[in-house]
């Protein structure tokens, strides 16, 4: 096994190799650090690299294994953490200037769980400032660039994690998702990312953007890698008031079951409106692939979608401005222009709008429950467009101009509003060679079913195995 082949392997493959003593954690970590060194200048995926700490941890994992201690499938596997999760002894700035010198004394619950599971923390990945945006064009730490085309964005807000996994400078990365921030960069970068059910993964120690919308989850190279990470990350945490005290399944338990007879909801409204033609084509082909595997397509219609993004916006603006209430008054110049504007606008939104947003959310939750009662999953594009150019804020689809922010929120934010689990995974490439993402949405706490469908699709196609030439 040479160093070149290590950094593009999946966590599942590396885990097996470590267990069989074919490769050590130190070798994997060195290979990854070398890859970061070679690629980070071009893509700016990392804002901090903890090389010495990672090698020390990797050595400890190798020694533990030699002594007969095996911590599980993440034993010795490198993990890259979005700079929104607190990491003990490693700067956590949230992509902002205000927290530029913030070195936490404790790990976020998810990071602590991963370390206990044997993971080796490699570094912190770039984020849109305070996770408040889709582009990861960070005014303080630089823009993250897409490994498939470095003139384009990696998406966001977890853009550093998306770019790192795509470029082979991360095996496993962590992201957060308030309006699509795991799924958008996963789609743009051609990787696999899960926004779990709201409450499934603890947000303790994750800098908040909007407490009723924030989710934490993994960004990796396959559905089976998602399962490996979720088996360690997921579970009730009394320190997160939104955490759900529900049984945690083995997320890998359904991966190898076939999907014959599984019912796929294909939305008639909203989710297939104003989609880039190449994205639409790729998603339609993906649906045919799933049908070919025995899944049954059923048309579904989601109610109240005309108000869904507006309701999300009302909640997001009010909650984010509440969180940043002090700093936006005392240190406004320390924010980048776009985030500063959102926060200032959020201050001016009337309380009644926020409440109306929450009331509409309830209707959405009930409407989605009724609509999805007759299906097992829902299939949509992960994003309406492929990765856009750096600096591009308006996109034309079917001759109609629309703000990128609204285009991306349109498809992804309804599942932050309803809290449903949603997986983004690659399902094609455009003529320009840009990844296209598929979204698979499940019932509350049915991540295992979502991963089953994702895994079946991966086994039938090779989109998850495509790599950018960087």
């Amino acid at each position: 096994m040479n160093a070149e082949s290590l950094y593009y392997m999946t966590a599942a493959q590396l885990s097996e190799a470590i267990k069989r003593r074919e490769v050590s954690s130190v070798e994997i970590t060195k290979s990854l650090l070398d890859r970061i060194d070679k690629t980070n200048g071009a893509i700016n995926a990392y804002v901090s690299i903890a090389a010495d700490e990672a090698l020390t941890a990797a050595r400890a994992m190798d020694e533990a294994l030699s002594a007969g201690y095996y911590f599980g499938p993440l034993h010795g596997i490198p993990v890259s953490v979005k700079d929104l999760y607190e990491t003990k002894g490693l700067r956590t700035a949230g992509g902002g200037r205000i927290l530029a010198n913030n070195v936490p004394d404790e790990d976020a619950t998810s990071v602590a769980r991963l370390r206990r599971g044997g993971a080796v923390i490699v570094g912190k990945t770039n984020t849109h400032e305070y996770a408040y945006g889709y582009t990861t064009e960070n005014p303080h730490y630089g823009a993250t660039r897409n490994p498939w085309d470095t003139t384009r964005i990696a998406g966001g807000s977890s853009g550093g994690s998306g770019a790192a996994v795509a470029a082979g400078s991360a095996v496993v990365a962590l992201g957060t998702d308030t309006g699509g921030s795991i799924r958008v960069p996963s789609s743009f970068c051609g990787i696999t990312g899960l926004k779990p059910t709201y409450g499934r993964v603890s947000r303790k120690g994750v800098l908040p953007l909007s407490w009723s919308l924030d989710h934490a989850g993994p960004m990796v190279r396959s559905a089976s890698d998602v399962a490996i990470v979720m088996n360690v990350m997921a579970g009730d945490d009394p320190a997160d008031p939104a955490s759900a005290d529900v049984p945690v399944p083995n997320f890998a338990s359904r991966l190898n079951r076939d999907i014959r007879g599984l019912r796929m909801g294909i939305p008639k409204n909203h989710f297939f409106d104003r989609i880039d033609p190449e994205v639409l084509k790729a998603v339609q082909v993906a649906i045919k692939v799933l049908e070919g595997l025995g899944a049954i397509s059923i048309e579904v219609n989601f109610p109240h979608m005309e108000q869904a993004v507006s309701a999300w916006l009302a909640i997001l603006l009010a909650e984010a401005s509440s969180i940043h209430e002090r700093d936006i008054r005392q240190r406004p110049a320390d924010y980048g222009e776009d985030v500063r504007l959102y926060l200032e606008e959020g201050e001016l939104v009337a309380a009644g709008r926020y409440l109306k947003g929450q009331r509409i959310r309830r209707l959405l939750v009930e409407g989605f429950r009724e609509t999805m009662a007759g299906v097992d999953v829902v299939i949509t594009p992960a994003t309406a467009v492929p990765a856009t150019k750096l600096g591009e804020s308006v996109v034309t689809i079917d001759g109609e101009e629309e703000e990128l922010f609204r285009i991306l929120a349109r498809i992804s934010s309804p599942f932050d509003m309803t809290g449903l689990p949603a997986l983004a995974l690659p399902c094609g490439l455009t003529k320009r060679g840009l990844p296209v993402g598929l979204q698979i949405v499940g019932h509350p706490f049915a991540e295992d079913v979502v991963l089953q469908v994702g895994h079946a699709f991966e086994q039938a196609t090779d989109w998850s195995k495509r790599r950018p030439t960087i």
Partner: protein, 70 residues
């Protein structure tokens, strides 16, 4: 047609919530705020049903994300 919001209105709203803004910031917000208000006005296009406290309480209790257990 996106409504135009005056700088004067933005300044008054900012004063109400004690948000200190320079004339430049007021101008920047005024340019963007019309689009936002337009978005938020879409919330009025839906009938949310009765306004009895019990109904509203039921509707807004979903601040835990609204997800029900399986």
């Amino acid at each position: 047609m996106v409504p135009v919001v005056s700088a004067d209105l933005v300044e008054k709203l900012a004063n109400l919530v004690r948000l200190p803004l320079s004339p430049h910031r007021i101008s920047v917000i005024a340019q963007a705020f019309g689009q936002l208000l337009d978005d938020l006005n879409k919330l009025d296009e839906i009938d949310l049903g009765p306004t009895e406290p019990a109904v509203i309480f039921q509707q807004v209790r979903g601040t835990k994300g609204g997800v029900e257990k399986r």
